[in-house]
Symmetry: D2
Subunit: 352 residues, 4 copies
Amino acid sequence: MALPAPPHIGALPPGPRHAITDVAGVTVGHCTLDAGSVQTGVTVVLPHGGDLFQDRVPAASVVINGFGKSIGLLQITELGVLETPIALTNTFSVGAVAGAQIRQCLGANPECGRSLPTVNPLVFECNDGFLNDIQRMAVTEAHYLQACQAAGLEVQEGSVGAGRGMSSFGLKGGIGTASRRVRMGTAGDTVYTVGALVLANCGRLPQLVLAGRAVGTRLAALAPVRPPEPEPEKGSIILLIATDAPLDARALRRLALRAGAGLARTGSVFGHGSGDIALAFSTAYTVPQDSARPMPAIAMLHDALLDPLFQAVADSTEQAIVHALWRAVAVTGRSGHRRAALADLLPGWPLV
Amino acid sequence: MALPAPPHIGALPPGPRHAITDVAGVTVGHCTLDAGSVQTGVTVVLPHGGDLFQDRVPAASVVINGFGKSIGLLQITELGVLETPIALTNTFSVGAVAGAQIRQCLGANPECGRSLPTVNPLVFECNDGFLNDIQRMAVTEAHYLQACQAAGLEVQEGSVGAGRGMSSFGLKGGIGTASRRVRMGTAGDTVYTVGALVLANCGRLPQLVLAGRAVGTRLAALAPVRPPEPEPEKGSIILLIATDAPLDARALRRLALRAGAGLARTGSVFGHGSGDIALAFSTAYTVPQDSARPMPAIAMLHDALLDPLFQAVADSTEQAIVHALWRAVAVTGRSGHRRAALADLLPGWPLV
Amino acid sequence: MALPAPPHIGALPPGPRHAITDVAGVTVGHCTLDAGSVQTGVTVVLPHGGDLFQDRVPAASVVINGFGKSIGLLQITELGVLETPIALTNTFSVGAVAGAQIRQCLGANPECGRSLPTVNPLVFECNDGFLNDIQRMAVTEAHYLQACQAAGLEVQEGSVGAGRGMSSFGLKGGIGTASRRVRMGTAGDTVYTVGALVLANCGRLPQLVLAGRAVGTRLAALAPVRPPEPEPEKGSIILLIATDAPLDARALRRLALRAGAGLARTGSVFGHGSGDIALAFSTAYTVPQDSARPMPAIAMLHDALLDPLFQAVADSTEQAIVHALWRAVAVTGRSGHRRAALADLLPGWPLV
Amino acid sequence: MALPAPPHIGALPPGPRHAITDVAGVTVGHCTLDAGSVQTGVTVVLPHGGDLFQDRVPAASVVINGFGKSIGLLQITELGVLETPIALTNTFSVGAVAGAQIRQCLGANPECGRSLPTVNPLVFECNDGFLNDIQRMAVTEAHYLQACQAAGLEVQEGSVGAGRGMSSFGLKGGIGTASRRVRMGTAGDTVYTVGALVLANCGRLPQLVLAGRAVGTRLAALAPVRPPEPEPEKGSIILLIATDAPLDARALRRLALRAGAGLARTGSVFGHGSGDIALAFSTAYTVPQDSARPMPAIAMLHDALLDPLFQAVADSTEQAIVHALWRAVAVTGRSGHRRAALADLLPGWPLV
């Protein structure tokens, strides 16, 4: 049965696309591998359309739970900028995608690693080993490039890209995205956009809360539809936040942390085996690689004005997780493992 | 109208007292100052009944949002132990209570600061300046000692002790406590207790979610009862977690972080002006001050077994916040400022 | 025997005052308590002459070793600004000085803690309990205010202010300061100043290295002059860095960390019992308390240009520690405890 | 001219091998690639001879300066254990070596990533792009395995393994190792060993200090032998510490941080472009992957007894850096770039 539109989280309005691409300049691309026991892929988020190595974007991350193998955060924490597309994939493909990012950067910057510094790959991961034959390491450099080439404003959600093989709350998980608009200023005429994109692979079914409703315990009680679930949780979730508000790395770290509030509302307690990692970036300005180029002179948003953005981060993150579950389709993969889709199980909405 | 018993959060059972004192050895004491524009106090949590300076307790903290003036966390992060009672009070009384802790330790350990190291005071704070004339700095050393002398197993909640002047979600906040029991092992015969105690002074009314219900938007819409609310939020929340599970400081930090999940479920997005700080300690063993005494040889709980404790932390924290609001009574203080009690506003429960 | 001028550390030139006050706007004041067993005091560093609560200064700290009781770092780490004078005193006087800072702020900002946020006291400490009767808690609010009133461009060093009772490397320690100038830009016409001020109370004598020379082992071998030394080390060192370079909190944290390099060159290994804490601030701009006032639009210094500043931080920190020892005079205090001065022990310089 | 034995740093005695392998159970292996413009390699440090995925070793890291692309630290910080050999290589080969570690683990643990968690690769890197054609990404999985197979107690130093193409202080850098023995207890009959192994690729020539002597300024003044040097510094240094003392992750982090003290004594100020990262591990016990296996019950060393170990970490780290320079041989690589060896430049020792 088809579900209606998903419930809206909170009081803030979304942007026109209901997606992270409502933040101007941001694009998203997927490459999906769907072939028998290979159910995996790559998703990329591009903060702008230029050369990110030359024009870096302010960014910061928060490790909510560090059972994870993502790479690139060390340097982002030190320098407060990201300098490649943000890539998402499965745990064992981090090395392949990082290599692809290096070669991509070398193509555009032949002196990278010589007269120029080395580039800092940025690859996030979740373990899709329940549905995907992760040991096959099927993702290659070409898949990363295909995801980059596919990048655009329309964002497919659910069982696509890096989300193809992911499970969340015992259901089919994957990619979800959402956005919120915030009005500021005495006249309310300053508008900022916050966008979230998640790779949802975390949680156990009984924990699931959808828009405040304890959906998980309801579904878990329906024995015939209870999907098989590995014990203990070995999931993860990646939480990406974009905004056009002028913020430096310190303030962006504060935003990233609020993605954890949105995650918690879905029932997650940041499980031991879950790599729960958030990253926030701003598109309001760039930081040049070359120190001979002028640095931007930006009046940052005052910290005391951040509360509406914090609300937008929590709400859009929760919304993105709802979307990931809502839009996912059932997938059967390795060893006949199958994850049912929420849309196939939920007997209408709202629950009565 | 009297409210029924508060809703139970989650599936785990509470301990017999529904309080942090369900963790064996833990006691709690209050000293409440209720005199016109002075509406404040001190609350203490004692991990055990001995000399904490000599027999220190493993502990770790997490700064969820660092708009706060608590003291003592620096050394706890380095050494992984606490060595005084945990004190809670208002922001401007931190110095007085810290001085009281030092003198208390000197009384029992005359060589402290001479042949022995200095003692590390541990004082958490929230700003109760809406109801309390915080500028008067009414809390003295004697009040801290009274709270210590009053410590016992029964825990008063609501508008008492350090919670006397606190506001939360535009309502009267204060002290709340709760506990959960977790069974482990193949036979389920290993039982651990997790206790939470909060000093709730955070949040704006429209954000409030009670046991999954958006109570705040409902109450905010009832214009006549909407309490006055300072803008922007200048609150804070202190989240204390106790457990008898054998955990070291690294694992306790993981527990402390999950208090943030419980907090997020109540609607908080960890506001900019809110000092949201969690601390977890274990009573399973002590660490001697004197390096000539033997160190404990403890088999810690395996990290892969922490998920039920994480759930217990999130659930008991949320429950403790519910209790703080549920049990608070209305208080009128400085300049006639008044905070209504949830119990006075909520038209029954559950909401229909 | 009088020592010659202390050796110059590194190749960078100092500013005209050889002091942290070479950074324009910065002033330093002391209040020294010298009365029998009371050998202690207060030192303040003021980043500018205005109201720091209203016009806050970008700042960041690094905890090199967290066996310490300093207060105020929590909020500085979150917000990246300091909003009071920086105060230094003994361990048990932190509360008294913090209270003094609060009252000082209330005097200038009567709404602090009411319609305005609470102020964040910033007090660093070392344990001077060997020479000073620290248990007497002799420092009062008046002493803090006297130090503020005494603030100026000339900086006394050695056994003054908070340094009165401090010991370092088994010798008399205390206050030291130094500065370095850095030229940048293609024409070398951009000049930045880095200033350091330390409260030196760390180290054991055999570790001491002065300008590369293992002075400590030499002095330790001279049995008649070997000063009594408590075992194990219970010292600490506070390392303050000022600069006029335009840097945000993230970059200032990077500077603060390099103070640890200067400290390490003196022979310290950041002893277990030593609270080794660095804080760096910039005078290049201020951040308003009031979010209605405009935020500064500053072109920060590019990270790739920080190396000369890192060098200046390490060199001026090492130099300031040398100054603290070089300028200290012997002090006799509690129980007849005495710390000899380096100037009394060192048989000339350079050592042959 | 052949140099004499390198100067001994500090007062503590070394172990019999003067190497990290003096810590019982630790072995080291290299695979060196020396072919024209390919001057690079892999070095591995194995904490013990068993299956590290099943029997994990307590570990902790400190990021001194985060301009680096090492992977694996995220999970080590969360869980406090390492579960693979420690691999060192060049910056662009991190992905290849991480993939090799994953496959190595899969070979021994076929359920890794399925019923077992995914394995956490641990690969450190420096940029050897001055001598090595790093863009060729010449390191393969086979090279990692060769390094593992070559692992033993004898440790080659200098221009070998991952150190083949590294430069340090404008000279040929690379691998260095050292050890120290510490006696404890009232009878001095408890002996712990600390071992250090560094991959030295940091620093500019004028900064270099050897055993307290400003060798760098001396050599830099000798114009004919001054080696070509890229500006600004784009180096890095990896600092590995092993010990047999019983320490948990919190205490090991404290040890790792003291490696920075040893590094600072060599003249480094932790340059902006340098990824300076330390990791410490203990061989005193292991932590099982399988939570059904019993956890070790270890009496950890009391924190107040750590000072001699801190001294041993700083001294052995400085010694290892001295060894890396002292034992390196000149290498000519990419585009005819050449790094001279310290042994070829230094006119005897000690300098007069």
